[in-house]
Symmetry: C2
Subunit: 408 residues, 2 copies
């Protein structure tokens, strides 16, 4: 495993960042709304995007700009998703052009992302007007990463930032990332944005392969509310300044890179689930003894996505029947009479269902376990060696409050 | 269309019913918890059940008892689902035996259903002890149907009961039904129970065919919370006392029967969606201009199941972006730039999205439209002639309250 380090999105050599309030978010001038991330030198780059048929304009523009596997910078705004909005593509391109002009590169070297309300015209003028000041703020520091991490937040209550250092080909390599949730989050990417930077030397092809491997077991295994958004974007830039021998194929160096990238992405994904809109609990659902990984994943996702299970966890209620019910409608075939269910947290572990039948368990202990912030639902299926872990959160009064009146 | 009549589950000739508190629900002695529905003569019978892999014991027993397409009676309890519970099948059979003994028929002529908490042992003793009194209460009256309708309620706030009269083969035929919601409701049947009775003469085969046709466009088109329960059951008994020529094939009489049964089931399904746990609004999502009915249905279900759309409707917020987003992740391919979205209610209709782009609409009018109890989301896709209507409800603070502490 890599070593956790400070610096976030600026941890890797040659990356600078900044965040600024330019006026996309009109209701609070203290909330930053545009982030800029720049590499001093050209980078290999890769991205993964929402599978929603309705793709926001910045998603389409970024996909186009990533076609050659190269990029220099990312510009992202919060407060407006620029999805289903008038002049969406024109405005996304104007964001790239403004960043490119300030940095001194081609607009096709800039990736763009937006998050916020769907269907409203983006105030691209205020972004263009703010970019020179944003460019002036670019720095490689903890504060700079913090600024960028805050500038992409919407209903997030905490910033999501993490960095690790590892050794690849005898050289110290750093990887850092920032991300945002926290509604419209569902397996296959949510209203999530995630930007990752590394000084690792790696070819665009291997960077893309690594990102696919890692997203599958991190961001694609979380759910907040079952709504897959129009804007999900996860991009990685690799500028090669670590000086390791460029990774151009699978092998020891590639495996080390994937391991470090996976560590970062799982940490960011857990942060996203834990800070799901209104959430009070992080729910980890660990399925073991499944026929194979795919079955374990389908069942685990069904459990973390079950509104009734989420409501039970909010109530600290060991209502395991809802867990079995969610397993049962997952679409997978299995024998319910082989299933054991446990609830666990730092307060202990309790077996509540054995071979598909309810046990007389200690309700007081169960309540104590479920009162912790981070709780686990452990499912043993007794069918084979397949396992998978997914992450979600509870559904609360605050989720309804946040989403009953989000636009206004 | 048939004529709406009184009488509910007892509207058809030869059917008697009753509901009674026997003690399955311990927290409130005023809440009835066992229902009995009996035909004076043997009936053709058909049923449809949850597709959840985890099927409650009474579901399995009723499927077995329906194998010959014949039945005389239904016994159902609320307060305990008898799913994943110790001695589940034994206890379901004991319920059938108790009813059979009281009525004077074979236990295999009795259908059984349960709804309530999963995983706890059913107090079958108190049901057995109560059946003779329940049998003594059997009557053919509005009050008797009302008693049975109340006895199957869990978190429902209103009873669901409806009956119509139509003419088939020159004879007056009545069909009546009772049903219950109101959580764990999702397309492909919810924690719903629905019992239908008719005096129509129809063969078991044609009764089964009619039920399948009708459930597809009624109960399978509603969602409360996306959780498909372990206990869903919809049974119909047809005793032939109307004296029409028995329906043994498709034709005019069959079509008239299906039309009346569909009318009943759509009304009951709408009642279920409207009384979804904690719901303040019935949401009707009507998709037109789709490639075909299947595409329209998938998209309509995705919209009514979207937690974010449900939260927006709770807030009377015309947040159509969430509608487009839910269409986009439905799994169907379509061109977002052909989509129009309108919100409608008795207060008016407003176009909010045209050809996939947001319009500057009158927010005050939109708010007025969405403040009504029953609101419609009308989606025109501009691709073909396919259409479908599904029903759902908003998600509210009360949903969280009800489900955060349901077991205790």
């Amino acid at each position: 495993m890599g070593t956790m380090i400070a610096g976030g999105i600026c941890a890797a050599q040659g990356f600078r960042a900044a965040g600024l309030h330019v006026g996309v978010k009109t209701h609070n001038v203290n909330k930053k709304d545009v982030a800029l991330i720049v590499s001093d030198v050209p980078c290999a780059a890769a991205g993964m995007f929402t599978k929603n048929v309705v793709k926001a304009a910045p998603v389409r523009v970024t996909m186009e700009h990533l076609a050659d596997g190269r990029a220099r910078a990312v510009i992202a705004n919060s407060g407006n998703a620029n999805a289903c909005a008038p002049r969406g593509e024109e405005n996304a391109r104007r964001m790239c052009a403004a960043a490119a002009k300030a940095i001194g590169c081609g607009p096709e070297e800039v990736l763009v992302a937006s998050t916020g309300v769907i269907g409203q015209t983006l105030k691209v003028d205020v972004i263009e007007a703010g970019v020179p000041e944003l460019d002036g703020l670019l720095a490689r520091s903890d504060e700079a990463s913090d600024g960028a991490a805050h500038a992409i937040m919407t209903t997030d209550t905490v910033k999501k930032e993490v960095a690790v250092r590892t050794e690849i080909g005898g050289k110290a390599v750093s990887i850092g990332g920032i991300a945002k949730g926290s509604g419209m989050i569902h397996p296959n990417m949510g209203t999530m944005l995630c930007f990752l930077t590394t000084d690792c030397a790696i070819s665009p092809e291997m960077l893309r392969a690594a990102l696919h491997e890692v997203v599958r077991v991190s961001f694609n295994r979380i759910s907040v509310d079952g709504d897959t958004s129009t804007n999900d974007t996860c991009c990685v830039l690799a500028n090669g300044l670590a000086g390791n021998k460029e990774i151009t194929g699978k092998g020891e160096d590639y495996a080390a890179f994937v391991q470090a990238l996976e560590e970062i992405c799982i940490l960011l994904a857990r942060k996203m689930a834990k800070d799901g809109e209104g959430a009070k609990h992080l729910i980890t659902c660990a399925v073991s003894g499944a026929r194979d990984e795919a079955q374990a994943e389908t069942i685990s996702k069904s459990v973390i996505s079950s509104t009734l299970t989420k409501a039970a966890i909010f109530g600290c209620d060991a209502n395991w029947g809802r867990v079995l019910c969610a397993m049962g409608y997952s679409g997978e075939q299995f024998d319910p009479e082989q299933v054991d269910v446990r609830f666990a947290s730092t307060a202990g572990t309790i077996l509540v269902c054995e071979k598909g039948r309810g046990l007389d368990f200690d309700e007081a202990l169960a309540k104590k376990i479920l009162t912790e912030d981070e709780i686990a639902i452990e499912i043993a299926m007794g069918e084979g060696d397949g396992s998978c872990t997914c992450w979600g959160c509870d559904i609360t009064y605050d989720y309804i409050k946040i989403n009953g009146d989000y636009r206004t």
